[in-house]
Subunit: 437 residues, 4 copies
């Protein structure tokens, strides 16, 4: 029987809203159906390897603080194996059905790419076994193309063609292992695809290169028969001053320009949305409106501070809006809700990982029930319909059908002087929302 | 002889950098050639009607403060005529070759659209005469679709189809008068095309409507044979919480999605760029890289405050970057450099308008000479070339030509372990820039 | 019987959480006791005259939109009387016990100060009568020293000594009428006490002037026997680039430096807190910790946009934190909770004022019950106590009593190497908070 | 002869503005006098140990990238010695007269405090020798109370009294070694003195503890006869969500409240100023106006991004304002201008350290000459004087002398209706500034 890394934590159970037990769900009840679908299937919750297992709590002013028993090993490959065990123990006890990883999270880089790949194969084999043993699935895999010094100037957008080649090789291998682990998708997050200064940067050329890399990935995906969904993850800045995948709209423009829009969807992250000056709800609605909503990296930022804090999502308002957009989109297909969130630097005990995820899952469960209630209640839809009522008149319908032109509309405007649109009623909408929360 | 509104100001002359006269140019010398083209032709400077003549200095906490002798009139149409005289006197004395306006700036709205249009025709006739008398040309016209209460919920994106019709009628008329005044372009700034709350908004439907309006405008432009360039002006927020034309990339995505990209270019504004979290340089480079740089609304914001301050551009660094991008784009065709800038609320004397524009024009003149110097000096280009040297190797060329795929690149990466890209040398780039300033 | 301005609105009643009636309270039950005190007495809710009655919805891009029947009058003094009637009708129907005003809100400025004061006296008499008729009280009065063009460069900090004198005269009169109306307090908000540019500003001299004005006000208060509390209201910027009363700490420093700290408390406003980069909770805790919490201007901002949006407070999390700080401070004495909030520009109907205030009052009522629950539950206090447990050891107590010095502490540190503090448990705290919401 | 770590760099010489040599000063000429004082004495430039020698370029998304030959050593104490040699070689070649350090920069922590202190003594001895050999002096020392995991919840404000004791011991030792090295000052930067969440924090108690620590340091300073100046360094956030020493005003309030204002001055940092929403110029003017300007940590931030980028200062406008404030304050006494700035992560070569510092020193040298020119030119002072002219009238003087009260001022205001202050002329001020740059 393998060593336990969370010996004092038992499987987290649903105990309902009256429970005061810290290690219990008050709202997330995996098999409970909401609008005809279980919570489990609505959310497809994933726990990410990097923050849960690898994040030690370091920040620009100090190293890691975390107590991580899985790192206690004679060598780094043994530690890698232990970490995989720990992550599956964690997920099993927590009750999430999916995980996500970067290649270098699960297996450390060696002196050569060949040796690195060999190590990766070894760990992937272990991961496959643990997937089979636990029933936990891979939501998505990805390649870390931003941590190693070689990627300091980008990967697909590096100033160096050799670095581009290395990135391509890493993507190839990551696609292969994601396929091997039956990943539901694959994410491209352009960690260093951007610039620190425009003075020394050829932006146009770099974007052309990035598109080339993505096209190669699309081709290779087809070649090896990997059927997972490709996702691009928008982020406006950090670590670079300006990331090319700034927000959903910038990604959309890029994908259209380079004829990639049919091959990609978006993986939208809350804190990235707010760093770009958008609400998460905006980014999701943009994605939904353009059939681009693929997956969600759930967390929360602090809009009073300007870096990616990746806190656990506990704000009910934000999570309700996420669930409304998700329901509107018809739910996840290949994607899911991955907690790209980390416990605070001061939360140093392994049990804090459980508190954090329980808080996030409970908040989303509660939010889903509220979103369903909003749908059933119907008042917000009705009030919205009333605002746009004018578009259901013959005039509105003719405009929408393309039957009008400026001259015809001028003739109408000359006849009726319109002074005002109906009240926006924003405060009433907000009250109704609060009533349902 | 008409009344003078600036009796104590004579024509502003170029006196060179040693002059200490407040009402003289120290750097802007209209006929001086820089890289083979006169400064006048490089910049195509325009003075905007709204801030110069109509802006009284009001803000959310108090009404206007400005002394505006052109408003001293028995009725509003006489005031409108006087204001047109004042603007052309101002521009003639300042020495700018272009102006810009919204329909409602130059002629006030009346009780019905028919009467409003009649008033507009009257003033446009006067404007045409003054253009002929002075040689000053119209850079672009536009319709004000955001001030009147009817547009409180948008114009093309209004919840009301009647308001949409009114907006369409106003665009039609504004296109006609812009054509009549031989405008070089026409700008769409979606002042209220956005939302205050997503709760009460159908974003997808609103965007569809906006695209319909723009297509109607394209059709009408062709119909009447107006040959000016259409511009869209990005802005992220204010007055709305979220404007649909958030930034250059969002406009680009919109134009591509709705098949409008061939009919529009962008009118980029400095303060809008920074409100969106971008440098002006970034927005211009994005536009240049996508053949979308049409025109510039020059001003400057204050990145420590979160609203559109529309200050006059006096920061040499920012203006140098603007000139570098402009030279890279091959200069303005239909567009120009419009000072969408206003004097501060405390700058209440008419002469302050001159100080402000002189400051802006001198800064840009100096910036242009520096941008030319950067080009001639060649060090920045050379240092940039050195960074990307790897892309001129056979490997780099093969990737760029599309001859590579993931498997071939992996084979290369397996052979060479690349550890680092060359130093980015950002500090050296910045020093060289400072040497040239 | 006087004309009604809200003929379709009856007195707002408490109907409990299951009511779906838009014009009813679901949580605010004035006479219900929470922790031994009625909700009415906890909150001392006030409706402000400026936003409710005078705010028409104008913004920098368009004039007002609001339908305001009280403005329909043959002359401005009749309108002023009608407006006073409307405000008391509004407050009576809404059920708030207090109001707040600026001198110029209730009575418009005339051609001379003498005439202006006469007008003000007339309206104050009417206000006094309405207070007696309705039982509604004045929470605080103030002078508008920021709207008139004469104050464009500040009032107490104006570049003009004459403007300073005018401001002083206005403060004197405002103190007199606030006394006459038995105001519980008087607020100083330095609307234009700050600068647009440091280049043309003598900051030190301006601050000395401001302190002189406040000292004169303290003296005059004593002279006339006004017993209300003086409040300073922090705000970091807008309309100026930089307001001197930036935040609670800056006000505190100013008051200490100029020996005014005993005469003033703070009136903390939510949106001003966030514009300064602080949470409202932070500003309140700072004030509580320094015995400076006097009154609250309740609203909410939008941290993704950079200007004062003054939205109605509907975020439960924020309001719970406000209530926690308020309970910690022992509740309001002279102050109260004034809704310094305005309906959105698109909310044009008089009834929207009711929706907005109902939303705010219900949110705070719910928040108060939650804050009381947090107190009764005790888990958060207990967890906090556990974090600081080390300060209850002999070592901790000795340090706090001032018995230690660096040398003694070094001796202790040399003996024990301390490696880590206990886990901060932030996620658990957040979960407990969510359980109680 | 010791090994050289910058073998290809010779002593940096002043070559004047026409030089195109990257490794030469174009403006900084140490012995050149400006307003009667050498540049060397104006600036008292310091190179900081942490960014120059210890900063490897790591960020939250990747480890260090830098090539640092001084780290190539068999053990960490040898590396520490080599690093000290490298720093003095660097400073000697660069020509700066001062350095700054944290205790743990120069000597790594060992298993016990006793052993750590022994190591520190060893390195301090070496540093003292190198100071004597080179003539380079210590501007200030400090203790690193933020990197080690024990300080994760603060040092003086830790939840743990034991951690407080450890911090006290570290301060004691750092004071001793700073005295030994004849440091001109000692800096307190409260890296983790703040909070991540108010939910789990007792802010009042933590601030009391911090004040206790500072009082102990003041006492110990007197006891050992250390005559250097104490500085507090404001920073608003990062790494914590909220630092207690938010900005100059917050520090001022803290120092006044705890009776520490006579014992401390401020060390103002550019990037910290902008993170707090202030311009550097504002923070300096606040400090100058309260006799608190002690020292400067020169760098520059990026106001479009929300974290501390610590870039080298190259913006002429910002540096001119710094020099204006510095001249106004009468120059540095104990303080100096320390480059708390780091080369970008992509700037990996040792020579980049030289480029960076040369750029900063040249920019400041140029800025100083401009500031002197502004003073000699006198136009800005004259224009400012004209704005405040009204304060030199009898009315103005009487107010300033405290001879007026509200009643007397009302009498004056009743006689004269003042409508407007004079034009602020901000644009003209900006033009004059640009003429002098």
């Amino acid at each position: 029987m393998p060593k336990s890394y969370f010996p004092n934590v038992k499987e987290i159970k649903y105990e309902g809203p009256t429970s005061k037990k810290p290690l219990a769900f008050k709202h997330y009840n995996a098999n409970e159906k909401v609008l005809g679908k279980t919570m489990r299937d609505h959310f497809r919750f994933a726990a990410c390897y990097w923050h849960c297992m690898k994040g030690a709590g370091g920040d620009p002013f100090g190293p890691g603080t975390r107590i991580m028993p899985w790192n206690d090993a004679p060598d780094e490959m043994t530690a890698a194996e232990q970490t995989m065990h720990a992550h599956f123990e964690f997920m099993t006890k927590l009750g999430v059905g999916f995980w996500c990883f970067h290649d270098r999270d699960i297996s450390p880089e060696a002196g050569s790419l060949a040796e690195t790949n060999k190590r990766l194969d070894h760990i992937v084999k272990l991961a496959g076994k643990m997937q089979r043993d636990t029933g936990i699935k891979l939501l998505w895999g990805t390649a870390n193309l931003f941590s190693h010094p070689r990627y300091m100037s980008g990967a697909g957008t590096s100033v160096s063609a050799k670095v581009f080649a290395h990135a391509a090789a890493q993507v190839k291998k990551a696609l292969e292992v994601t396929k091997e682990l039956k990943g539901s998708g694959y994410v491209f997050w352009g960690g260093r695809e951007g610039y620190d200064s425009l003075l020394n940067t050829d932006m146009g050329r770099e974007l052309d290169h990035l598109a080339l890399l993505l096209h190669m990935a699309v081709d290779y995906k087809k070649k090896i028969g990997f059927r997972g969904q490709f996702f691009i993850e928008p982020k406006p800045k950090e670590p670079t001053k300006h990331q090319y995948d700034f927000d959903a709209a910038a990604c959309h423009a890029f994908l259209m320009k380079y004829d990639l829009v049919k091959d990609f969807m978006l993986n939208i992250e809350t804190n990235h949305a707010t760093l770009a000056g958008h609400s998460m709800h905006h980014e999701l609605e943009y994605a939904v409106g353009n059939n681009l909503l693929g997956s969600i990296d759930a967390n929360r930022g602090d809009t009073l501070i300007g870096w990616d804090t990746d806190q656990f999502p506990t704000d009910l308002y934000d999570c309700v809006m996420v669930c409304c957009s998700l329901l509107k989109a018809g739910g996840f297909k290949a994607g899911g809700l991955n907690f790209d969130a980390k416990v605070r630097r001061q939360s140093i005990d392994p049990v804090d990982l459980f508190y954090a995820h329980i808080g996030g899952m409970d908040t989303f469960a509660r939010a889903l029930k509220i979103a369903a209630k909003i749908q059933m209640d119907g008042r917000i839809a009705k009030l919205t319909g009333e605002r746009y009522a004018g578009w259901s008149t013959p005039l509105g319908r003719d405009i929408e059908k393309g039957k009008m032109n400026l001259a015809k509309l001028e003739a109408i405007a000359l006849k009726n002087n319109v002074d005002r649109a109906p009240s926006g009623r924003q405060e009433l909408f907000e009250n109704v929302l609060n009533e349902l929360i």
